[in-house]
């Protein structure tokens, strides 16, 4: 292994170790919540999306989506508002700044682990030790 590779590997290991000291976001560890947060993350910073459109985009049932959105709103990762057209109520959902930061950190940590695993396959000696 060259010096450059060794240096890069050690830098990566340090970063990976640092990330692993902080556990993944517990709320976003649920795949459905992560998908919902991803969909909200794609909106403009002050943008919002209708509940029905979100359910259609994610292929989730209303009940399922509602319970996950409630969990995200409870921890402050998403926020909701309502508008009325006559008596008809429309619910809008958007990502908060805290939700955006948590999503980016969670995805970043996932990506780092995947990248580092791909970059450093076990060599023959390590296999034998296992």
């Amino acid at each position: 292994m060259s010096d450059e590779q060794t240096l890069r590997s050690s830098e990566l290991s340090a970063e990976l170790g640092e990330r692993l000291r902080t556990p993944f976001d517990a709320v976003l560890s649920d795949p459905s919540r992560l998908r919902i947060q991803a969909a909200l993350h794609g909106l403009a910073p002050s943008g919002s999306i209708r509940f029905t459109a979100l359910a259609r985009a994610l292929h989730l049932s209303d009940g399922n989506l509602s319970s996950h959105l409630a969990a995200l709103c409870e921890v402050g990762y998403a926020t909701s508002s309502s508008t009325f057209t006559g008596k008809r109520r429309t619910r809008w959902y958007s990502a908060t700044a805290a939700g955006r930061a948590a999503f980016e950190a969670h995805v970043g940590a996932l990506q780092l682990i995947v990248d580092s695993s791909r970059m450093a396959p076990p060599d023959n000696d390590e296999r034998d030790q296992i």
């Binding site: 998908r35 969909a39 403009a44 994610l58 996932l110 995947v114 296992i130």
Partner: protein, 215 residues
Amino acid sequence: MLRGTKYMDSVSSSRPLERIRFSRYARGVSYELDRAEASLREIGALADRTRRASRSMATGFPLIGWGAAWTAGYAALDLLDGVVRIAVVVLAWVFAMLMSWMPLRAVIRTGVESRMRWAWMAVMVASPFLVAAGQPASMVHLALLLGALWGMAMCLYAITAHDTVFAVVAMFGVVVAGIAGIQEAVPALLLFGLASGLTMLALGIYRVIVGLRHV
């Protein structure tokens, strides 16, 4: 990883068996990695999907409106006369204004719709004052100046919204207005209306189709 740990714990001292178990462990880790990568790809695609849909819904119908209005309106200014010309221009403007209200009924909001309306109001109010200050040499140059001004306003909005394609299309309109003003080969307003109007119209139609497909 959990699966790998289980295999590591159960490794025996027998070398062939160890290799078989490692192979299973490696396949397990690889499978988990593949799943993680697929998940990351899906997350990226979802965020991209709502980003595109949001952009399409905010700009699709207004682009269709203003693209059609510029194409018909500027062409009418060059090709028609009298009352018919005024009627076409007014109808084109009304159509564009109506299409500009469409994003309010969209299923995705940018959250800046109200501020956008005020910004456009400022551009419209400023237009006659800019014309008075610039004193264009003819009606053709006046129409081109207004087209360039509104194109520039669209370009600035697109830049603040990180909408590169819209920014390029809007800036293209400004450049065409400048070129149309100095060339004499083609009727200036017709050239400007067709070149910039049809470009906006095409982008608007594409975005409406994309917006409908994504959400």
